[in-house]
Symmetry: C2
Subunit: 430 residues, 2 copies
């Protein structure tokens, strides 16, 4: 099809009328569809149900070193759990600490600790006039919510197909000692789905920050969440790269099993240098009596090793791949060539990122909602919920059934076309 | 027996020689006994093993309102879990938020949040020159560790048989706006085992703090941990009392199932006013994706209701009562009348508190250690690990077998007698 920008006013008006008639039909169906959050669907959760049986009342709940996992003790996690998650994110077990069920909570704790106690002996951030974080955009709303909650200034850095704009990152980090961190989702990024290139990772590792307490917040949320072959989406291991580059302490790496076993009932971990671990342990030993070892043991007994995790994730992929491909097909069918937006075709992760014609995102989301399709609110992928181009929309295709997803995607493309035409007509008038 | 203070130098010297011979015998046995922490023993943990079967792979993991507990969602806990823990600590479900596995972690989070964000709109504590906490002594070492970690000044308040010295608490709290909190273990207190009297609770509820953001940290760790009849150890409900007294927002109440189901794999909660909950939820929604709902459901399906918890705790009591009584009997047999120390005879909880002849506690603990009996380090029950009288020793009789406990208790009384004599001889010389 020809791009809408080349259509005449009359053609656009006619098209709008036709599309609105279709839209009305959907509206009359009283739909309640939800594409807001990266939630696994029930079929994915069913894959882990056997986990409920691996630790029965007859099971021996001692771990390999003889510890009774039912009792107090063992801060930082069972050795075999560290090994399992270490294998998953390519880090030695000795660099890992196991936390509770939420990697977001570890990130929160890391920033909270930096505020009150500083990083490795540096001034606590709450004693500084200004603290800033770099935020690759579009990015993950819950990252930005943490930094906003702590009053940390957020600076947008554009994402490219290779990761954040590294010229900008290097320039800012080396010149401004108030910049204490950067949020990264390096693999199957939230929401763009891209994986940082080797060059990007190496440039990260070689950063020369003005602040000694600058840390890369490397949220490796989708390390094994491939939609296709796991050898695609290759990502350099950042801890090793930082060590090689002489910056061993510059990165906190986070992971969890939230989208592997059960969200909310999985296990989460941080991986970092021994110096950072020592710093973190001081807090950890005061903060808690330790995390849920029975659940750690349950995960180890169920998955056993990296091969077990990979086999499990292939089953997830078999459920998710058709959903991603369905959305991509419908977008292709309904939007191709119209200039009404661009979208990513990720090889893994949980999201499709859609960039509308500038100035249309909020209107598209609002129009979808009026037809019963809930999307992540406009601006969510930007700090302070402010998308400067009002363009980015995060689409989460994992939770609905294929049938619901098809309907939702059709409503989305319809709303997109209508709002793009509205905008173009407005622009022609202006 | 006559008090050692009335013995002659010669009598004491002879006694010491006799006791040291007995002590040597124990030393030769290469023992490794541990009375340090309030840990349940394996038989207690076995009581909860059926919990591992209530959620099998065939179970329906939806809670009563239809939520799939395996997925994301539901901040603050399942309704039925709030009801269960609410019944346990005599608070309506609507006043409860469920957290992860550790009530200590909730207390840490509460103080950390107060440092960075303040309490209900008041100045964040990190912006103040000085923050102080009242610490009833002897008390719980891990409480004091949190306040010390955050640089909060700790002020000792002596414990009486009815709770903290309320004249002192009232005087300090009403006159010093830097005092922002007080640590309390109101029932079967750690370590003294006493339960706050009705008058104490009411005086707490009627406090007139100089600081608007003063909060009582009410650690209800042993709410159902009776050794005898559950109607003993009656404790007034502090939230209701505070409401009645016109101080509805003055208290945070904490609880967990750590010593009911599995320590480290239980569930923890905070109970407080709606105003405080609103304040806390602001943090909570940023901090985490929510806590482990599958484990919450597991607890509800296993215990069902307060009667279920009570029946379960009677089984715990049947295991623990003989241990407490054994220690009390040995102390009675070996120390009665000697003036070598006093000890508590608690009706519940996890500890016996021993007060030695002044200046002997560290030496007793060290002597026990040399015979293979590990005790909580001297001073642990005081802020900054400084017991002004070097007298208090916390004894945790729950974990060892009865046979080991008997040996450990004998070594303890022997060490106590030897060190008391040493001290008296020293004093006679001086």
């Amino acid at each position: 099809m020809r791009p809408y920008t080349e259509w005449s006013r009359e053609e656009l008006a006619q098209e709008k009328e036709n599309l609105k008639a279709l839209y009305k039909n959907y509206q009359m169906r009283d739909l309640h569809l939800n594409l807001t959050r990266g939630k696994p669907c029930a079929e994915q959760l069913d894959l882990s149900m056997d986990m409920m049986d691996v630790l029965s009342s007859k099971a021996d709940l001692h771990c390999e070193d003889g510890t009774d996992c039912r009792n107090y003790g063992v801060l930082g996690g069972l050795q075999e759990t560290k090994e399992l998650l270490g294998a998953m994110i390519e880090v030695p077990a000795e660099n890992i600490m196991i936390y509770g069920n939420s990697s977001l909570n570890i990130m929160y704790d890391s920033i909270s600790r930096s505020m009150t106690h500083g990083v490795m002996g540096n001034t606590p951030w709450c004693k500084l006039d200004r603290v800033k974080f770099l935020c690759p955009v579009p990015g993950y709303d819950r990252h930005f919510a943490i930094t906003e909650y702590f009053g940390i200034d957020m600076i947008n850095v554009p994402m490219t197909a290779d990761g954040p704009d590294m010229d900008m990152v290097e320039g800012l980090v080396s010149s401004d000692s108030a910049i204490k961190g950067i949020w990264c989702v390096p693999k199957y990024s939230n929401p763009t789905g891209i994986t940082y290139s080797e060059e990007t990772v190496r440039r990260f590792a070689k950063l020369q920050p003005a602040a000694k307490d600058f840390r890369i917040y490397w949220d490796n949320a989708y390390s094994v969440h491939h939609l296709y072959d796991h050898r695609q989406g290759y990502l350099d291991e950042i801890l090793a790269e930082c060590r090689k580059a002489g910056n061993p302490d510059m990165v906190y790496k986070f992971t969890s099993t939230s989208k592997i076993s059960f969200p909310g009932s999985g296990i989460a971990a941080i991986a970092t240098s021994q110096n950072n671990l020592q710093d973190i342990r001081r807090q950890f030993s005061i903060q808690t009596i330790g995390h849920d070892k029975v659940n750690q043991l349950r995960h180890v007994r169920f998955f056993r090793n990296l091969d077990g995790i990979r086999a499990h994730m292939r089953k997830h992929a078999d459920i998710l791949r058709p959903k991603f491909e369905l959305v991509e097909r419908i977008f292709e069918e309904d939007l191709n060539g119209l200039g009404a937006g661009e979208w990513t075709k990720p090889l893994g992760g949980y999201f499709i990122s859609f960039d509308s014609y500038p100035g249309c995102a909020a209107a598209i989301i609002s129009r979808c909602k009026k037809a019963g399709v809930e999307l992540t609110p406009a601006g969510s992928t930007y700090p302070y919920h402010q998308d400067p181009h009002d363009s980015n929309i995060r689409i989460a295709p994992t939770f609905p059934s294929l049938a619901d997803l098809e309907t939702a995607a059709r409503i989305f493309t319809l709303s997109t076309r209508i709002e793009t035409i509205e905008k173009l007509l407005e622009e022609k008038t202006a």
